[in-house]
């Protein structure tokens, strides 16, 4: 189905690209947000990525999933944008060896809206690489090999980043929730 739309675009049917935009805009935006951490910049990057994908669609060889190919463009543009914004890696939270990697107390009792809010808040304070790796692996369910293709990192590096990211994520979540509890009390 998706392949048919891609072939139609290559043959000159611009309107067929709408299907791909509609299907992937949210995940492409999520991927961009993981890196650039700002809605407007992420939207700009996502739009640029779709335009780049359209212009270069003839180079897509159907050897990988279209999403892998598209996210690679999104990731490259996002990191390029990040370089322009000059966000420092040390501005983000990173877990230490003493940090526990479990869900903080009270999280189970939260409703879905609150969970969504706190999880996205935690991902926001994680480094771009770590939040990107977590979302690609656990949310979009890409394999280590696919993440390696998307990001250009080696498979070993993906595993290392994922290992650190899990700990940092729990640490970030605990930090945010503790801060919230202190504010409430």
């Amino acid at each position: 189905m998706e392949e048919a739309y891609i072939r139609r675009v290559i043959e000159g049917d611009v309107e067929a690209f709408r299907f791909l935009v509609r299907k992937y805009q949210h995940m492409a935006f999520t991927v961009a947000m993981s890196v650039v951490k700002d809605e407007f910049t992420a939207e700009e990057v996502t739009q640029e990525a779709f335009i780049k994908a359209f212009v270069n669609l003839k180079q897509f060889r159907f050897q990988s999933k279209f999403s892998t190919w598209l996210y690679r463009i999104v990731v490259n543009l996002s990191f390029k944008q990040l370089k322009k914004l000059k966000l420092q890696e040390n501005n983000f939270i990173s877990a230490g060896p003493e940090d526990a990697d479990t869900t903080p107390d009270g999280f189970d009792k939260m409703n879905d809206t609150d969970r969504k809010f706190y999880i996205n808040k935690a991902l926001e304070i994680l480094s771009p690489k770590e939040s990107l790796a977590l979302r690609l692996f656990y949310l979009d369910e890409n394999s280590v090999d696919e993440i390696s293709n998307i990001t250009g990192w080696s498979e070993g590096n993906v595993k290392v980043i994922l290992f650190r990211a899990r700990k940092s994520f729990y640490a970030a979540l605990s930090k945010i929730l503790n801060k919230e509890m202190k504010t409430i009390l």
Binding site: V14, Q47, F50, N120, L134
Partner: protein, 119 residues
């Protein structure tokens, strides 16, 4: 490092469940329309570039043919206002041939670039 390779299914399932909440929605409703209108403009501009290149080739060929025709027409004339035509024509031929080669090179480069761009 070794720990990274040990699959921890429970933790992975929990993270999968937690990260399930991290999907973001594109907050701009008109995103799809903006991308599509941008793409249509892109296609239009691509078509206009191709049309310009075709016209450039046409006028290049017409101009060259016209130039040749003029030089053939005036070749029987031996002098204008007492000046020898053959002496007058040499610098004109040099300038003309140089321009012709420069235009030709430009056109070939542009055409090759477009073909590469279109894949």
């Amino acid at each position: 490092m070794f720990l990274m390779d040990i699959p921890n299914k429970n933790r992975d399932d929990e993270l999968k469940q937690l990260l399930g909440y991290s999907r973001l929605e594109m907050p701009f409703d008109d995103f799809e329309e903006r991308v599509m209108s941008h793409l249509k403009k892109e296609v239009q501009s691509e078509k206009s570039i191709d049309r310009s290149i075709r016209l450039s080739w046409l006028f290049f060929v017409l101009g060259t043919a016209f130039g040749l025709l003029v030089s053939v027409i005036i070749s029987p004339v031996t002098s204008i206002l007492g000046f020898s035509v053959s002496k007058l024509m040499i610098p004109l031929y040099i300038v003309g041939a140089t321009l012709l080669l420069l235009f030709f090179e430009q056109l070939v480069n542009i055409t090759i670039e477009r073909k590469k761009h279109r894949g």
